[in-house]
């Protein structure tokens, strides 16, 4: 994980004032000691940290800036799988390699029974961990 100071410095070059402020706030919350004890977040969980709805486009841009930009990468993206045949509203973490294989093949192989699941993007949702830490709380 990059140093907090260098992340804040990288975020300071974002020209959009609202985005810059929200990214900075989210990074601050994530790096706070109590937040580090919490090991993973969905879009909803990250939105709660800065009082933004999970569907808010500004939250999405913040998450992109903190997970995609090399200079300010604080978050790593992974995925939860919501099996349509099980009653599991929380989903379950799915191995990154299964998702990569799904994009290569065009279908996801269900980790429990090996079923081929087409249109799998409607059954996976991103969750994030601090870079270098792979957790499962949400």
């Amino acid at each position: 994980m990059s140093e907090p100071g260098s992340i804040q410095q990288a975020l300071s070059t974002i020209p959009d004032e609202d985005l810059r402020a929200q990214c900075s706030l989210l990074a601050e919350k994530l790096l706070a000691a109590e937040a580090i004890e919490h090991s993973s977040w969905t879009y909803r969980g990250l939105g709660r940290l800065i009082q933004r709805d999970a569907a808010d486009p500004l939250l999405h841009r913040c998450i992109e800036a903190l997970s995609s930009r090399r200079s300010s990468q604080l978050l790593e993206m992974h995925f939860l799988y919501f099996d349509a045949h099980r009653d599991d509203p929380d989903g379950e973490p799915i191995d990154d390699e299964i998702v990569r294989d799904a994009y290569r093949a065009g279908f996801l192989v269900d980790p429990h029974d090996g079923r081929e699941v087409p249109n799998f993007e409607s059954l996976i949702a991103p969750y994030f961990v601090l870079k270098g830490i792979h957790g499962t709380d949400r």
Binding site: T13, Y43, R44, A54, S71, M77, F82, D90, Y103, I124
Partner: protein, 232 residues
């Protein structure tokens, strides 16, 4: 359940920048081919060129280094891993993802000899020619002439200088593409040439209405008044 990937993708499709951001965010899972990656990188470069051209009054006096740094900052803000470096009097922009690399050579397009110097640096000095590193671009900052005229002139000069360059139209106006061979690996290099229109020569203070134009205006006014008087 947070938003699914399908929902996030649908939301991202609403804007060009959204599409770009989302594609970049998924690259670690939905890895593009090198060709698809280059197309996306060049779309991002074109997006930044459009922004710079829209503010040409601010940029036409700057040197290539400063303009390149502005473009580099814009590319970083599109979440690309971009860097601009000033080496031996030339600025190049490097964009990377994993093993992929795209090199951009920036030149003030003052004459074709200067542009060729940059082109030779790009194709012989910087390009590695390794797999996933065979595409790049020439960013021609055109401050003193019409951008299309400058690009056409350079294209004609390149066709003679590099007879096998296979020059062809680009995907969008003010671009063309060509090929070359990397000296060190023998691999084909694909180069996109971008003209960045920065000529800023406002005409409003220079050009007055001609006598003939003034006379035409007066005659039309007179005719219109006569028509109105006839109706009443």
């Amino acid at each position: 359940m947070g938003p699914t990937v399908e929902e996030l993708r649908r939301e991202a499709q609403k804007t060009a920048v959204g599409r770009l951001h989302w594609a970049i965010q998924l690259w670690n899972f939905d890895r593009p081919t090198y060709e698809a990656w280059v197309e996306l990188v060049e779309d991002a470069v074109l997006f930044q060129i459009r922004l710079v051209a829209q503010s040409k009054s601010n940029f036409h006096v700057l040197g290539e280094d400063q303009i390149s740094r502005v473009i580099d900052i814009g590319l970083k803000n599109l979440n690309l891993d971009s860097s601009a470096m000033y080496i031996n009097g030339n600025t190049d922009i490097t964009i990377r993802f994993d093993t992929y690399c795209w090199l951009g050579e920036a030149k003030l397009a003052l004459d074709n000899s200067k542009i060729l110097h940059g082109y030779d640096q790009l194709t012989s000095r910087y390009a590695s020619g390794m797999t996933g590193q065979t595409s790049g671009g020439m960013l021609l900052y055109v401050t003193r002439d019409n951008a299309q005229v400058t690009l056409d002139s350079w294209r004609a000069a390149l066709a003679v200088q590099v007879p096998n360059c296979d020059h062809r139209d680009g995907r969008v106006p003010l671009t063309f593409c060509s090929s070359d061979v990397c000296q060190s690996t023998g691999q084909a290099l694909q180069i996109t040439h971008f003209a960045v229109p920065l000529l800023h020569d406002p005409q409003e203070a220079k050009r007055g209405l001609s006598e003939a134009a003034k006379a035409a205006g007066r005659a039309a006014r007179k005719t219109a008044r006569a028509k109105r008087a006839g109706k009443t």
